[in-house]
């Protein structure tokens, strides 16, 4: 029966005799168009007197997309033109994103390295005001290290144990609720975490500002990140390992401590370091709870303290050339700190990755 129908219904507009070859643009065409568009964009920008080079770039990008489309439609046809336009739009997206991010990295390094030296790292802001040059971030480094250190000491054990509970023991309603609220906690804005500690620790219990109050807020931000990453790592530990240990008569808690955790330790370390990097850059809770200071305060439990991200903000707000310099210098130190943590964390992850990588 299929044959009869097949023969009756003629192929629509019989697309049969097609040639496989058709005119195509040379391989260098997109690059040539890109260069021409960039030059033309700059030319138009100059001629029209646009000060902002953002506009030059946008004009060039637009020219590139439009000219690619026009040329391809003329030479290769509309389907190929659509394909080319998608390619050029994707490239334009990439360039559009690279420009600001490169500018951010470059400016921070360039401006920050002007002031960053041993003096800057080893002095506080005591006795200086916004109109004086000099000064440094020593007190802010102390503050950040202490606040982040305390937060890590609190958050890591709780986070690890919670992850162990979820992976090794967790069944039923409670585990579901914990999983859900860990997700919710991940999305809490840092300023809300700060407000929560403010509403309890400071406003309700009447405690004053201190580095420790800031640590509590950072703990809230850190815990869910530790739980999530540890959970992922524990799930990667093969069940055979657990069963092998249990079958030897090792109690479950020792199995977890001696077999499961050591197997996953590389990934867990990576997760913790990434979490540390995240909270080290948090400004908002520190702004509300630690308040900042020009002086060295080694005691995180008593009185206001400085912190690196907060230092950047406060020096920026002073609004003088000297304070801007200090803000860039501190921003550079902060970025280096965060990047080193990230790079080391990823190196550990690669180095300690289970042999049976996916």
């Amino acid at each position: 029966m299929s044959h009869t129908v097949m023969d009756r219904a003629p192929a629509t507009e019989a697309p049969a005799p097609r040639s496989l070859a058709h005119r195509r643009l040379p391989r260098w065409a997109p690059a040539a168009l890109a260069v021409a568009s960039a030059a033309l964009g700059a030319g138009i920008g100059l001629a029209a007197g646009f000060e902002s080079r953002v506009q030059w770039g946008l004009i060039a990008a637009l020219l590139f997309v439009v000219s690619t489309y026009a040329v391809t439609t003329a030479v290769e046809g509309s389907r190929q033109a659509k394909d080319r336009i998608a390619t050029s739009v994707v490239w334009v997206c990439f360039v559009l994103a690279v420009v600001p991010l490169a500018s951010l990295a470059w400016t921070t390094v360039e401006r920050g390295s002007r002031i960053l030296d041993g003096y800057f790292l080893s002095h506080s802001m005591a006795g200086l005001n916004q109109n004086t040059p000099g000064g440094g971030i020593y007190h802010a480094l102390i503050g950040t290290l202490e606040q982040v250190g305390i937060a890590t000491l609190i958050a890591v054990p709780i986070g690890l144990l919670t992850a162990i509970y979820l992976v090794e023991y967790g069944r039923g309603r409670l585990a579901q609720a914990v999983t859900f609220f860990v997700d919710v906690m991940t999305g809490i804005p840092s300023i809300v975490a700060g407000l929560f500690i403010l509403s309890t620790w400071v406003l309700t219990f009447g405690m004053g500002p201190s580095g420790f109050a800031g640590s509590l807020a950072l703990t809230i931000l850190m815990m869910p990140v530790v739980v999530r990453s540890t959970e992922e790592m524990l799930k990667l530990v093969p069940n055979e390992l657990r069963e092998a240990s249990l079958a030897l008569g090792v109690p479950k808690w020792r199995t977890i401590l001696k077999v499961v955790l050591p197997t996953a330790i590389g990934g867990i370390t990576t997760g913790v370091m990434l979490a540390v990097a995240r909270i080290a850059g948090e400004t908002a809770p520190v702004l509300l709870l630690v308040l900042g200071s020009s002086f060295i305060n080694n005691d995180p439990f008593d009185g206001t303290q400085a912190s690196l991200p907060l230092y950047v903000y406060q020096e920026y707000m002073l609004g003088t050339p000297h304070s801007y310099d200090r803000a860039w210098g501190a921003a550079l130190v902060l970025i280096i700190f965060v990047m080193v943590l990230n790079l080391v964390a990823r190196a550990i992850a690669r180095w300690k990755a289970p042999a049976t990588g996916r």
């Binding site: 192929a11 697309p15 496989l20 195509r24």
Partner: protein, 258 residues
Amino acid sequence: MAKRIDISGLSAYYGGHKAIEDISMTVEPRSVTAFIGPSGCGKSTFLRTLNRMHEVTPGGRVEGKVLLDDEDLYGSQVDPVAVRRTVGMVFQRPNPFPTMSIYDNVAAGLRLGGSYRKSELDSVVEKSLRGANLWNEVKDRLNKPGSGLSGGQQQRLCIARAIAVEPQVLLMDEPCSALDPISTLAIEDLIGELKERFTIVIVTHNMQQAARVSDRTAFFNLAAVGKPGKLIEIDETERIFSNPSVQATEDYISGRFG
């Protein structure tokens, strides 16, 4: 409709690794040619060079000529997209587009080509589904997702999708290996019908299947693991299975290795 394929001196690479070496053969129009051989001998790779799908894999590269009625698929002005419209393909595992309905799956290739009127599309979809012996099973649920069908039905849907664009050649890469015996039988019957209209090349691990459906059979083998695969011989299927000219072919078919 159907075209002849002449392959000469074809080698294919994955990066630095040579997967197949110096293959020359002719695939006759309106017939079924089966590729058999042990795993890893490069028959699937070879199949994928016939519609320029091989170069999609990272590092994939081809040397040699594939003439489709005298036009070289690897000519410098040839558009691989046009090649794949002319040489259709059915894969090992059924792969209908999961987000599309049955109807849209079959119409997908046509819609790429340009705008069609609804009535035209309707008739092509019906014709293709009938061609794939699937129409009666799905005509009442054309707007349901294709992933809701059974494995065998999905594979016939993929065949319908491939023949809807009226290709010259249909390549099938172990089309029955993921299917149960009854679905396999349905596909084999279908292949027998389709060869009236298309040049068909089928890769199979199942020698009974090669014997049942093909007119000619090509046997591939490789000298050792890591060495490139080669064409050992190609002949009428009957000859290959009764009286092959090369000893290795006979060993393979009689199950002495592979």
